[in-house]
Symmetry: C2
DNA sequence: TCAAAAGTGTTATTGTTACACCCATGC
DNA sequence: GCATGGGTGTAACAATAACACTTTTGA
């Protein structure tokens, strides 16, 4: 790289400055598209999977439910944009967030072509108070949702499938629970999200055998029956022992 | 919807036409970004994983290898754009292609901000002849690749991890082999891509027990040793018997 | 006849499923 | 004392991992 960009290395070869100008001109000549991020924010409450929604602020979709989203800033990394959306609308921070997929149907926005990159987030409803209730921002039951704004139904359905798959391979779901949880809560979570019925003893055996639950020594409170032990998840140990080879399974 | 858009349903409420105009104006007011698709096209030849590359045509990256990519058309679905890239540069068609991830680092293109959506493709090198060799388009060994143009090294590494994971859950890898293949070829493929050593007898048992291999009755040819039986993969049967619940495994 | 890979079974171990009874607590 | 869910063990079964010899072909 030249120290002084005004003096090219040789007179025959263009300097880095010229090359960059050329690249800038090239990029400027290409079609551009508005980009949004849309956040599918899952929660778990009262034994139901919930998703954080607002009323669409686009009059064309008056009354319809919409995911939380916003246009991406000019020089903004999309992960940052997704975090910004979460923070600005809910005050939530430091949560699990992951890019899931980009939706590019040219008809997906009635105002013209808009790409959206879907992000999926999982958080514990109790630990994060909504900072606003503008546009009826609220936790909506995942089941029975239909006829959302834009292509948000499709985005949501895709993210739900993603969640189901991902939860079986990674301890994602624990982000939906409080820090301390009973095994019953954990099992309910898996049963509800994966839509299966699991054997209680086998479920316990499975989780205990992974040796990733830390017994807090504490017990549930305010339950109208024998209280269960409360556990924490050992995320540290999990991170350390990542398996690489699993097996062929299809 | 109004039959005649010039006469709103009521005088107080704006008609659909006005709402759409409003949406169009809104979209027009937002920042726009150029979008590209980049195709990571994997092949398998001489017992090595290969990837289809060209020399970057951006002078700034003179001599560096680049994925096949192009800007997305104004009203083009990104899947279509990825297909177009494959077809226009290689003549290949009707191949496995899937969106993997969007890369949005604002610094990833020296000419300014350009988003790219990475697609991953798997095909059999023998069955698809390159239609051109412009820009040194060729099958490059995956191993030992480094210092590519743009962030293409990162994109490629991400797609490789994606491939490894995906190949264990779906019979993706078969797209890399000829229609008829021996079990040795199949095992080599898995060993190379997943970078593991597998027991031959257990590997056979595994695949036969899935009952998805069709014995063609034919045998290898031109091998300097006892020829192996050739099989086809029963994609139809596989598609029909998709499992929904697998299990908790992490 | 040699080299090279094809083809083939058994055993030990591990993980998974199915299943039923007593226990602790709140009401 | 009763309703509710907590907590526990075992046996059958399925899947996986480890391991070695004979067969077939081309050269």
């Amino acid at each position: 790289m030249n120290i002084n960009p005004d003096i090219p290395a040789t007179t025959a070869v263009p300097g880095e400055k010229e090359l960059i100008e050329e690249a800038v001109a090239l990029v400027a000549s290409y079609p551009k598209v508005p980009i949004t991020v849309d956040c599918v924010i899952f929660g778990f409450d009262e034994n139901e999977l919930k998703v954080l929604l607002i009323r669409s602020d686009l009059p064309l979709f008056h009354g319809k439910w919409s995911l939380l989203g916003d246009f991406a800033g000019d020089q903004e990394e999309l992960d940052d944009a997704a975090y910004r959306v979460m923070r600005s609308r809910t005050g939530m921070d430091d949560v699990y967030l992951e890019q899931v997929r980009t939706f590019s149907n040219p008809k997906r926005h009635p105002g013209g072509r808009v790409l959206t990159v879907a992000y999926c987030s999982l958080l514990n409803i109790e630990h994060h108070q909504l900072k606003t209730h503008e546009n009826e921002l609220h936790w909506h039951s995942f089941n029975g949702l239909k006829d959302m704004a834009f292509d948000h139904q499709e985005v949501l359905d895709y993210c739900y499938k993603w969640l189901q798959k991902r939860m079986q391979e990674h301890p994602l779901g624990l982000n939906l629970l409080p820090d301390k949880f009973s095994l019953r809560e954990l099992q309910n979570l898996y049963e509800v999200v994966l839509n299966v019925k699991l054997d209680r003893r086998n479920f316990r055996k499975k989780f205990f055998s992974m040796d990733l639950l830390i017994d807090t020594g504490e017990y549930e409170d305010d339950v109208p029956h024998r209280p269960g032990r409360l556990y924490k998840f050992n995320f540290q140990k999990y991170e350390k022992n990542q398996r690489s080879w699993i097996g062929i399974d299809f």
